[in-house]
Amino acid sequence: MAEAVARRLLKELKDYQKEPNPDLAELSPISDDNLLIWKAVLRGEPDTPYEGHWILRIEIPKTYPIHPPKIKFLTKICHPNISFKTGEICLDILKTAWSPAWTLQSACMAIRLLLSNPEPTSPLNCDAANLLRCGDFMGYESLVKMYTQLYAMNQQENEASS
């Protein structure tokens, strides 16, 4: 049954390659000999403070898709539900709300959606969440933009540092 996960992942890879997703610049295993670790590059929504390239690391358990993949940001990001230090993401579908009907691609899209729809009540980044909670949207946006410009605007540099 260990091949079950490999079979599914290869299908997901083919599926992505067949129909490239403009919001997902990259989605593939990081090396040929380990199918269980993938890299994704998200394109943040245009005209938002997250417009840039965000690198994700995806770790897939052998029991996937019954159990969810572990996804975290490798690019530093300032967002209420993402740890600034570790890149850990607080999103229900990656934990309790996961079902095998999700795919790596749809999970990445859910993360992209989270960027413009933060949930400041369950923060992993209190500084960002606090700005939102006290309604300082200008402050929030400029803080986010600063980090986006610092880390997510130049993809090559980013890849070199990860």
């Binding site: 049954m1 079950a4 079979r7 599914r8 299908k11 997901e12 599926d15 029991t63 898709p65 019954i66 709300a97 996961w98 079902s99 095998p100 009907a101 999700w102 795919t103």
Partner: protein, 286 residues
């Protein structure tokens, strides 16, 4: 283990002992720690009952409720008039689908009616287009479908006996894939018949959201609506008995029958029992 650590620290204080020996002592302690953790994890796993158990005599159910109020015991005594055995399923939130699938597969395995077996396979094959029309992409269901189909065909070819079927359902991965596929069928049916069932939803959520949160999601136990959908999607009649605390002397059985009357009339329904927040399989006296 404590003793080991003392021995190691003694070894360390003894200057004649070389560094390599101390290192190897340390690694022994580490290995014994790993072994201990591994044993504990196995023990924890084995304390759980199997996903699907062997059939027990119905009197075991009575024993389970011996300490409870009298009405339960009366209900179970009355249940035993028509039912001989119970097969328990683990109460992990997936018991409805697991019990349904096991009971269905077992019924097909024991049936000598070739036409009925073939129609079961046809119903299963038809779920592919059901999932497609409900908007599921092939990617998310074909692996699970293949696993279910392989088992179904093995049963139809007489390759499985009861022990084998039990082993399959007790093997986490295969068993969970079967559960997952039955969840998808249920969700697909509900989505396609949204208009008919949406008003039955308890919360102010749409059918799609309901399916995402309460049908597709593993470990979320099923309710009447799920039973209606799965029965109709697979054309398999089911009766579910509910052990409640009401004062009725008999357990009330709810009949979930497919739209196809012909099937309901020729095939005996599967019998499930809902109690202690999960489902088990019941067997009627032949």
């Amino acid at each position: 283990m404590d003793k080991k650590i003392v021995e190691v620290s003694e070894a360390m204080s003894n200057s004649e002992v070389s560094k390599d020996e101390v290192d190897s002592e340390f690694s022994k302690v580490k290995i014994s720690q790993i072994n201990w953790e591994f044993e504990q994890s196995i023990k924890k796993e084995t304390r759980k009952p199997p996903l699907v158990c062997l059939t027990e005599d119905i009197s075991k159910l009575y024993q389970q409720y011996e300490q409870d109020s009298e009405i339960y015991r009366i209900k179970i005594v009355n249940l035993a008039e028509k039912h001989s055995g119970i097969r328990r399923c683990r109460s992990d939130g997936n018991s409805f689908y697991r019990a349904f699938a096991f009971a269905w597969f077992e019924r097909i395995m024991n049936s000598s009616n070739k036409r009925r077996c073939q129609s079961a396979l046809n119903s299963l094959a038809a779920t592919n287009s059901l999932l497609n029309s409900a908007g599921y992409v092939t990617l998310v269901y074909e692996d699970a479908y293949n696993i279910v189909e392989v088992q179904m065909k093995a049963i139809l070819n007489g390759e499985h006996d009861e022990d084998m079927l039990l082993t399959i359902f007790q093997t986490d991965e295969i068993s969970n894939y079967i559960v997952y596929y039955f969840r998808l069928i249920t969700a697909a049916y509900l989505k396609l018949h949204q208009k008919k069932y949406e008003h039955l939803l308890e919360f102010e959520i749409g059918m799609d959201q309901f399916c995402t949160n309460f049908v597709e999601l593993m470990d979320q136990e099923a309710d009447n609506l799920h039973a209606i959908a799965l029965t109709k999607a697979l054309n398999v009649p089911v009766e579910i008995g509910y052990i409640d605390s009401d004062m009725m002397k008999y357990i009330s059985f709810c009949k979930y029958y497919p739209d196809n009357d012909e099937i309901s009339s020729i095939s005996r329904p599967l019998i499930l029992l809902h109690h202690s927040k999960h489902y088990d399989i019941l067997y009627r006296w032949e």
